[in-house]
Amino acid sequence: MNPIEVRELVKTFGHVKAVNNLTFDVYEGEVYGLLGPNGAGKTTTLKVLMGLLDPDSGTATVFGIDSTSDPIEVKKRVGYVPEEQLLYNSLTSREILEFVASVRGLDYYRTKNRVEEMARALDFANHYDKPVITLSQGNKQKAMLLIAMLHAPDLLILDEPFSGLDVRTTRIMKDVIQIHTERGGSVLFSTHIMEMAEGLCDRVGIIDDGVLVAEGTLDELRTQSQSEGATLESVFLRLTGEEDEVRKGVDALKGALDK
């Protein structure tokens, strides 16, 4: 039983097929990157995994637990950082963490130690008693990470965790992911930033228009796309058939800017 098993997942929004027959696994101790352009179906897939959206067909399981029929058990095992930073603006990080720890029924001493250590590591201690509304985007992301990791989950599901972060916070996020997997945890994250995926992921799934177009390690993807020594960006563009399209777009842009 793998931490994540997605089988023939289909999810439509009206006439749009956001996820189309998607199948992939995330193994234990692995960092799996779900790559795709905006609107490819990455967030929808993660929301179905978290039990926030019901699939039209197919299954999504987390540690063998079905996300649709038992989302509560799934959420007990997972630390989730959604793309949107919708925290209670008027509450302080301390008040939010108290709420989360209480809902998860965590032990006081273990949680206090964990928060202390993580806040120090994330350089967040100074912001602990500030209302969320006063926090920068990076600090909000740190608060979300603290919330997601408070219960020491086995699996982290992160939706676009690097969007809009400064260099320092990006580095912290990368370190958190690496440390988590070094200790046996698994990570599934979505991103459209190729450098992040290239540097962090053990395996990558490329999704386009809701369809998984390729999957594997970077070397495997290079072989699949017949582009030896290429960067993940080039591999991605070739596999999604966007190479020519991007080249034409850049040429058109050059023409427009020259006028």
């Binding site: 749009v16 008693d129 006063t134």
Partner: protein, 546 residues
């Protein structure tokens, strides 16, 4: 940029603010908007139209009432002063309505981010300020247009064109002053509520502001019934004290405008000092309105673009956590969020205010014995509005979607937390009625049990309203509804709480009509209220979804 273009751009900004407000109001909307985007967009449009119609209807009713009153008093003596006072009261009500009715939704303007795109476009500062003020005005356009256009039109038709035109200017000034006050008060409250300062004093200030606002709204609506008495009081006072009182009144907003309107309509019916004082004061207030228009745009820009300075003296305290049970954590979080939002505080204190607002109607019967119908009326009134308080509690989760999405929280647990808060508030209200009845002269001692036997409805009303809204708006999952932004849901809440809350009371009433037996009637009431609570307790978990 000409006014037409600015008006159009301001409309786009206002639409964006409404759209963000709708998404903010409901944690699940961000996840679900892609499922049925047309439906959600049409919901937003319907909701906005419904809000405008409701607010417009209230203003229209007040306007018609005032005009009818003016028409009646024109045949009585001392009509000049009565006309001045009546017009002044309408101006005062308009000011209060614009200020208080919009205070809740205005704080959202500062965090909507809708002005960020226009700020990157080649607009100069004054264009941007004007746009912001126009967008702000467009959100509240319905009541303002009704106030500024319809009432002067009615007055012009009945009392002459000149009076109508002057009232148009007076009401426009009043609206601008009210919008200016609205921007400043909501900005101040926003900074206070987001300061994170958890001292007892700051909590008292926040709750005090909510109570003050609630009382303000009640005075605005309640004053209609007292207009004849207020007019009589001022007329009598001026007769006893002399013209000095009219000079002082003529200097005070909104009486200055009222006196000038009376002078235009009836000629120089006041002593010359009063005429001069009211005219000069009116000019000053019109100038202040113009200044307010200029500075409000600037204030709005600095609040919406630069953010509000919330607090700079955060002290670094040792990291600690107060971990409690799930239910207690839900309640504690809701109370914390509630006391930091004007709208939420208002809804939390609503049942208490209602009790004290309606209790005097019971005291009318003190000369004779209090009858069962009076008690049923009071308890029924509190019960129906208990549903509105529940909607307010559901609206607290407007900003916490990112937290909820990852938490293993059963929908029933979330709902139970809110039911507990609304139940405490409701039970307290019914106990106040019980104490009041203890002190009163009752037609039957069994009447004492009516508020007590209604207490199971503290659970039923909250559960029925919460369950219905979660089912209708969230498909059974946790959802948040904004009482101001989603008045269709608010109406549904009132209907549901009406059905659930009034059924036991109707049981009492029907049994009494048939048998004339008070004991049997209260027992029927108790059976129905307990039956409802048990039924909801059993069925609710089945209609909700995690």
């Amino acid at each position: 940029m000409n006014f037409r273009e600015r008006w159009r751009v301001a409309g786009v900004i206002a639409q964006e603010i409404r759209f963000n407000g709708y998404l903010d109001a409901n944690p699940s909307n961000l996840s679900r908007i892609k499922e049925k985007p047309e439906r959600i967009i049409s919901q937003i449009k319907r909701g906005s139209a419904f809000n405008s119609i409701l607010t417009g209807f209230i203003v229209l009713m007040i306007g018609i009432f005032m005009v009818a009153f003016l028409f009646i008093l024109s045949s009585a003596g001392n009509e000049g002063l009565q006309f001045a006072v009546s017009i002044s009261i309408f101006l005062g009500i308009s000011f209060a309505l614009i200020l208080f009715m919009n205070l809740m939704s205005t704080t959202g303007f500062f965090s909507s981010g809708a002005m960020i795109l226009p700020s990157t476009l080649p607009f100069n500062k004054s264009d941007l300020e004007g746009l912001m003020l126009l967008a702000f005005a467009r959100i509240f356009i319905a009541p303002i247009v009704l106030i500024v256009v319809i009432y002067p039109a009615m007055i012009a038709a009945l009392f002459g064109l000149l009076t109508g035109i002057f009232l148009l200017a007076a009401l426009a000034t009043t609206s601008i002053l009210a919008l200016g006050a609205l921007i400043r008060v909501s900005g101040w409250f926003y900074s206070k509520s987001q300061s994170g300062n958890e001292s007892k004093l700051s909590i008292i200030i926040r709750i005090g502001a909510g109570l003050g606002m609630m009382i303000g709204i009640f005075i605005s609506y309640g004053v209609m019934g007292f207009i004849p008495a207020i007019v009589d009081f001022i007329t009598t006072l001026s007769t006893i004290v002399g013209s000095g009182i009219t000079i002082i009144l003529a200097l005070i907003f909104p009486f200055s405008f009222g006196f000038v309107a009376a002078i235009i309509t009836y000629g120089p019916v006041f002593p010359l000092p009063t005429v001069i004082a009211s005219t000069l004061a009116s000019i000053v207030y019109i100038y202040l309105g113009f200044r307010s228009y200029i500075t409000s745009g600037r204030t709005l820009r600095s609040l919406a673009m630069g953010g509000i300075s919330v607090s700079s003296d955060f002290s670094i305290s040792p990291i600690d956590l107060n971990i409690s049970s799930k239910l207690r954590a839900m309640i504690r979080k809701d109370i914390r969020v509630a006391t930091r939002s004007l709208g939420s505080i208002m809804l939390l204190v609503l049942p208490f205010i209602l009790v004290f607002a309606i209790l005097p109607s019971l005291s009318l019967g003190y000369s004779t014995a209090i009858r069962s119908w009076s008690v049923l009326l009071v308890v029924g009134y509190i019960t129906i509005f208990g549903g509105a308080a529940m909607v307010g509690l559901l609206g607290l989760d407007t900003q916490g979607a990112s937290i909820y999405e990852g938490l293993p929280l059963r929908t029933m647990t979330v709902l139970n937390g809110k039911i507990v808060i609304s139940a405490v508030s409701y039970s307290f209200s019914t106990l106040v009625v019980f104490v009041f009845l203890l002190l009163g002269n009752l037609i039957s001692p069994y009447l004492l049990f009516i508020p007590l036997f209604q207490i199971p409805c503290a659970y039923s009303v909250g559960a029925a309203v919460g369950g219905t809204i979660y089912k209708v708006r969230g498909g059974g999952r946790v959802t948040a509804v904004n009482l101001v932004g989603d008045q269709l849901m608010s109406l549904l809440a009132l209907v549901v709480s009406g059905i659930v809350g009034l059924l036991p009371l109707s049981g009492y009433g029907v049994t009494l009509l048939i048998t004339g037996d008070h004991l049997l009637s209260v027992l029927v009431q108790l059976s129905i209220s307990l039956g409802e609570a048990i039924l909801l307790r059993i069925t609710l978990p089945h209609i909700l979804k995690d």
